[in-house]
C-alpha cells in the first residue's frame, strides 16, 4: 500500500530536522510519526522516510530493525506491554502476563482477530518501584493486581 506523509507530519519532521546539524538524526522521530499515521512500518513507509530525509532505504531499515518500538506488522488498537523483568517478576509480573495472554488467547507479539488488542512481553519499563505494570500504548498502569488488570482490560474493551 502506498504511503505518503501528511502535510502536517511533513512539517513536524522539518521541525525535528532543525534540532540537528544534518537530516539523518530525524529518522527516529519520522518513524514514530509514520507508525502513528500508518499503524506500522511497511516497506513503503521506509521508502518515504528515506526520500523525505535524503538517506537510503537501507539506512532506515537498519534503524527500524534495531529498536523494539517500531513494528513491521500491524499492532492492535491497544498495544499491551507487560513487563516481566526481575522487579516486576518478584511482585507478580508473570501472573499478569499469563492473565492477559489467557484473556485474549494470544502469544507474545500476537494480535486479536478483531485487531483491537496486541500483546508484547517487555523488558524493564522503569516502574520497578510500582511493580507490576502494564503499558497500554503510551500510558503506564502501575501497582497492579489481577483484579485491577481485569478492570483495565474490560474498560478498554468497552471503549471500542
Amino acid at each position: 500500500m502506498e504511503f505518503k506523509f501528511t502535510e502536517e507530519n511533513l512539517t513536524r519532521i522539518e521541525q525535528e530536522v532543525k534540532k540537528y546539524p544534518e537530516r539523518k538524526p530525524a529518522v527516529m522521530a519520522a518513524l514514530y510519526l509514520a507508525q502513528e499515521q500508518n499503524g506500522y512500518i511497511s516497506n513503503e513507509v521506509i521508502k518515504e522516510v528515506a526520500d523525505v530525509l535524503g538517506i537510503t532505504a537501507e539506512d532506515v531499515l537498519g534503524v527500524v530493525t534495531f529498536y523494539t518500538m517500531y513494528h513491521q506488522k500491524p499492532m492492535g488498537k491497544f498495544h499491551l506491554q507487560v513487563c516481566t523483568n526481575v522487579s516486576c517478576m518478584l511482585r507478580g509480573g508473570y501472573e499478569i502476563w499469563d492473565q492477559v495472554k489467557d484473556k485474549f488467547g494470544i502469544e507474545n507479539l500476537g494480535i486479536t482477530e478483531d485487531q483491537n488488542f496486541s500483546l508484547e512481553e517487555v523488558e524493564c519499563m522503569g516502574s520497578c518501584g510500582t511493580a507490576p505494570m502494564i503499558a497500554v500504548n503510551e500510558d503506564y498502569y502501575e501497582n497492579l493486581t489481577n483484579e485491577k488488570v481485569e478492570e483495565i482490560l474490560e474498560s478498554l474493551k468497552s471503549t471500542n
Partner: protein
Amino acid sequence: MEKILLPDIENLHLIDVYISNGGYEAAKKAFTQTSDDIIDQVKKSGLRGRGGAAFSAGLKWSFMPKTTDKPKYLCVNGDESEPGSFKDRQIFEINPHQMIEGTIITCYAIGAKTAYVYIRGEYHKWIRLLQKAIDDAYEKGFIGKKMKETFNTDFQCDIYIHKGAGAYICGEESSLMNSLEGKRGYPRVKPPFPAQNGLWGCPTTINNVETIANVPKIIEKGWEWFSKIGHPKHPGTLLFGVSGHVNKPGVYELPTGTLLTDIIYKYAGGVPNDKKILCVIPGGTSMPPLRGDKLEGVKMDAESLKEAESAIGTGGVIVMDEDTDLVKVLARIAHFYHHESCGQCTPCREGTGWLEKILKRILAGNGSTSDLELLITVANQIEGNTICALGEAAAWPVKYMVERFRYYFEARVNDEVSLPIANKVHSMRETSYPLADVKK
C-alpha cells in the same frame, strides 16, 4: 536530612514555583564566573556520575578541548533502562527545571552550544513533561537567544530532547551517540573517547540526568557544602530506587554511605511478613548480587560497595526474600542481556545466549554440577573481551550469583529441592504483598 534533588516542595515542576524557590539563580551566578572556575568547583565538590560508573564529573568535563574549531556537545543520558532503575523519571516529573538549569551550567562549563537529552522511548509521559519544562524555560529566556539578556552573557545554548525507541544498549554512551546520529545503536570502539571524537566526530560530554541535576546546587551552595554530604569519596545524595520484596518500594533520596539495611528496613519498610532476605542486588541487575546474610554494615556508596565486592551502579536496590527462586531470577536476568546484546562482538552475542540456555536448562530441572562450572567459564570468557561494558553487565550477575550462592545452585542441579516449589517465584497472590505507596 536536606534533599538536594527531590525536595518536598509542592508543584516544583512548575517554572514559577521553581523560580520562587531560588531556581535559575545558580545559572545567573555561574555566568559571572569563568567556565574553568565552574569545572574546578565541580571537580572539588567530588561529584561522581550517577549513571553507573561513578566517574568524577568535573574531571570528565576537563577532558573537553579548550581550543577547537568544532562545535561541542553535551548529551544528558536519560535512557534509564537498567532493570531495577527508576530514578531519572522522578527528576523529569518532580524537578525538571533543576536538570535543565544543570544542563545550561554544564553547557557553559564545557563550551557546548547544544545539549541533547536522550530519553528512552517508553517514557512518553516524561518526555512530554520535560518538553513542557524546556518550552517554559525558553519562554522565560533561560535557554536560547534570550539568554544574552537574561544572564547578561555572550553565551547561548539550546536544549533538545531525542526520543529513543526501545533498546537498553542505547544507554551506553557511544551507542547513545550513534542512536542520536540516526544510526543503529552500536557501541563504538574506544579510544577515541567522546571528549575527542563524539557526536558527529565532535568533542562531546555524556552525563546522567541525576548527575546533571546536582550541578545547580553545587554552584549555589558551594563545593565545600556538597563535599561534606555523605561519604567523603563519593559525596552527595543518591536517589535509591528500592524494589522487589519490601513493604514500601519507591525512590528514596539519602546521603551516600547510608547503610543498605537502613534503606531496606528503615525507609522501605522492611520485608513483607518479616521474612529473611536471601539476596540483594544493590545497583541494578548488572551489579554483583549480595547474600542476604552478608548485608550487615554494607554502606551504599561507590567505595564501600567496592569493598563489599559489588558496585553502586544506578543505586537500584532489588530485594529478594528467602522464598525467591534465584535460578528463575538469574535466568530472567540472562534472558535480558541476551535480548539486549547488540551482536557486534562474538563473546557477548554468543556468550549471553549460552548463559541463558544453560540457566533455562537448570530451571527446567535438567542441569548438572558441570553446568555451574560452565556458567562461570562462559561468564569469564565474555568479561573483558568486548567492545562495551554490556559484556560485564551480563557476566557479573551470573558469575557472582553462582559463586556466592553455590550451595543453592548445587542443591538445585542435584535435585535436592522439589521443582514445583522452587520454581515459584512467589507472586502477589501467594504472599499478598502490600502495594507500593505511590507519592504523587
